[in-house]
């Protein structure tokens, strides 16, 4: 390995503290005059697995391509292991990418695909044999080395794409919707498998996905993106329990949501008037402020004490989902009423009048007034 960009497991990071292993600063990007990203910051630690989660068009793939060097940001810097790589072309960054369609080379065999990165770095064919065999063993594909790419199933192709990306010992591994081409069962198996593989090897990785379950399953932290901004960057449980914005609350998990207006401040609580009555939530807001009330469906019960929030409603739908049952009421325009009960409870049916109860401290409160920070 004569190339100066050759991977060297011992030498990778310089003085950079591990907490700032990747530091993406003030990224700006416009397409044909339309700004899609304006001053985005993103930072992750060495060995961390992070997901960029968001709907299509939120900028997650743009960010991935900017980090990989496949796209140039208009402004900002990308610092990896203490070095600003923003102006380096992709082939000099030592950042591997697993593409959504895997982008395996159809004219090369499985082993040749895996060897591609090593050969591109100037390694001889003979020297590449051993690392290629090890990489294939890592993804349990050693018996397929001489196969043609087209003879492989989707799951097998994904393993080869991962082996090809890891064999060069990248400083960073980017995965663009890596599971979206797989069917549901296989997807879950591959998620568990890939996560433990990356963990064991101490790989720093970024998953790009629009699937919240996938993001929750594979990552230490999730950056929820919307309209070119990161709305919240936190570990899965924080993200779920205390979503920073209504967008995060809606994008990650389900919720009951009711809009209303602040009626009064009552100590540490805010009283809110909604179409379904007065509710209380922790917080401090001026009376008259338009707000959104949210609560996770599994925190709702059908009975409760007088100190709990309560709404009365008629059930619109009862969905039996095996391990749980979802009760849905008919709310107003933007509102939603969802209650999740563990197990199968056939006691309730469509048309039944019920009451949803939940603890005041489980209530999420969002300021919807103009100018409020999202």
């Amino acid at each position: 390995m004569l190339d100066r960009h050759a991977p060297d497991p011992g030498a990778a990071p310089m003085a950079a503290p591990d907490a700032q292993y990747l530091d993406v600063v003030a990224i700006r990007k416009a397409f044909k005059g339309v700004t899609v990203m304006d001053g985005l910051d993103f930072r992750m630690a060495r060995g961390e697995l992070v997901s960029l989660l968001g709907p299509s068009g939120c900028g997650k793939t743009t960010l991935l391509r900017i980090i990989a060097g496949l796209m140039q940001a208009d402004d900002g810097s990308v610092i990896l292991a203490g070095r600003n790589i923003a102006s380096l072309p992709p082939h000099k960054r030592n950042i591997s990418v697993v593409f959504q369609n895997y982008a395996l080379f159809p004219h090369l065999s499985v082993a040749e695909n895996v060897a591609f990165g090593l050969r591109a770095r100037g390694m001889s064919k003979a020297d590449a044999v051993k690392p290629v065999r090890e990489a294939l063993a890592l993804v349990r594909m050693q018996d397929f080395a001489e196969r043609s790419i087209t003879a492989l199933s989707g799951g097998q192709q994904q393993r080869i794409a991962v082996a090809r990306a890891l064999v060069v010992r990248p400083h960073l591994l980017l995965l663009d919707e890596p599971f979206s081409a797989l069917d549901r069962k296989l997807r879950e198996t591959m998620q568990v498998e890939l996560k433990s593989l990356l963990r064991d090897r101490g790989i720093t990785g970024i998953f790009v996905t629009h699937d919240q379950d996938e993001a929750m399953g594979v990552s230490d932290r999730i950056a929820v993106m919307n309209a070119g901004r990161i709305e919240q960057f936190a570990d899965p449980s924080t993200l779920y329990a205390t979503p920073a914005t209504p967008f995060v609350m809606d994008f990650v998990g389900l919720s009951t949501r009711l809009s209303g207006r602040v009626a009064a401040q009552e100590g540490a609580l805010v009283a809110v008037d909604t179409d379904l009555g007065r509710l209380r939530a922790p917080g401090t807001l001026a009376p008259g402020t338009p707000v959104l009330i949210g609560v996770r469906p599994e925190l709702i019960r059908l009975d409760g004490g007088a100190d709990m929030n309560r709404v009365d409603l008629v059930l619109e739908d009862v969905a039996i989902l095996g391990s749980k049952t979802m009760l849905q009421g008919r709310p107003g325009a933007e509102d939603r009423l969802l209650c999740e009960l563990a197990g199968i409870r056939n006691c309730k049916a469509r048309g039944d009048a019920v009451s949803f109860h939940w603890a005041v401290e489980d209530t999420l409160l969002y300021d919807l007034s103009a100018g409020a920070t999202p």
């Binding site: 992709p90 591109a120 990306a165």
Partner: protein, 278 residues
């Protein structure tokens, strides 16, 4: 679909088959038959022995192959960058490229050849320009040369090289060069290790088209170099029309046919081999 139905649909091939058989295969067969007979009508390869023993005929065959090879090479060199640019072109630009490539095909070869003679002749544009720039003292001979023939023919056959290469490039997954880049491959490696190998079926098809057309061309050499330097196709025409030597004409036709058939078979074998890997 039932087998009976499929069989009946198969009948649709009959008109085309009859047409090809009557208009193409039969006369060709008769011609081939003639080439393997001597003047008395007995089966013989005497004519071929004579052709390959004749230095003039050998030089004509050699020139034909050389010109066809150079035409193919020139067309290939020009077609590659064109196809690359076309792949990244969108909307109006792409239409413009396609029109620019396809429209000249509708312009007859005769018109083109006379247009070139304006360019190539001793007081033509090229010589005038070179002399004005003091690069040459006296006009150089361009018209009636093999160089002019190669340049002219490559121009006529260029679309048949560009279009198949463009077609395969356009089908390539745009992520593949990106994947190669993130694996450490620079621009040259991406081109020669990924883009070119994947485009080979199109390159083979384009070369087969252009070579088989160039090896059998008649009108272009007749107009550009005239009788001075013959090609096999011109020699065939001469044999039938002026020399009244049908033996020579059909034997040369057989040689030309064998060259064309081997190019077509060789290239389809190559394309199948390259395709099988993908």
């Amino acid at each position: 679909m039932s087998t009976a139905r499929a069989d009946r649909i198969g009948l649709l091939v009959l008109p085309g088959l009859a047409y090809l058989g009557l208009i193409y295969a039969l006369p060709l067969f008769l011609l081939l038959l003639k080439s393997f007979r001597d003047a008395t009508g007995a089966l013989s390869v005497a004519e071929f022995v004579q052709i390959f023993g004749d230095p003039l005929q050998r030089s004509i065959i050699a020139r034909t192959l050389r010109v066809a090879f150079l035409v193919t090479l020139l067309a290939l060199v020009i077609a590659w960058p064109t196809a690359i640019v076309m792949r990244s072109a969108r909307g109006g630009w792409l239409s413009l490229f396609l029109v620019a490539i396809i429209l000249p095909m509708s312009l007859g070869v005769v018109v083109k050849a006379f247009a070139w003679s304006i360019l190539f002749r001793s007081n033509g544009f090229i010589n005038q320009s070179l002399m004005t720039m003091n690069l040459i003292d006296a006009p150089i001979r361009l018209l009636f040369t093999e160089t002019a023939l190669v340049i002219g023919a490559a121009n006529v056959f260029l679309p048949f090289m560009v279009l198949p290469i463009y077609a395969v490039l356009q089908q390539q997954d745009p992520n593949l060069p990106d994947a190669a880049a993130t694996l450490g491959a620079g621009p040259y490696q991406r081109f020669f290790k990924v883009i070119v190998p994947l485009a080979m079926p199109g390159v083979v098809a384009g070369c087969a088209f252009v070579f088989s057309m160039a090896v059998s061309m008649y009108v272009i050499p007749s107009l550009i170099i005239g009788e001075r330097q013959q090609t096999v196709a011109m020699q065939i025409a001469r044999s039938f029309l002026f020399l009244r030597n049908e033996q020579l004409g059909s034997s040369l036709s057989t040689i030309l046919l064998l060259i064309a058939v081997s190019v077509v078979l060789g290239s389809s074998w190559l394309a199948a081999r390259l395709g099988a890997r993908q």
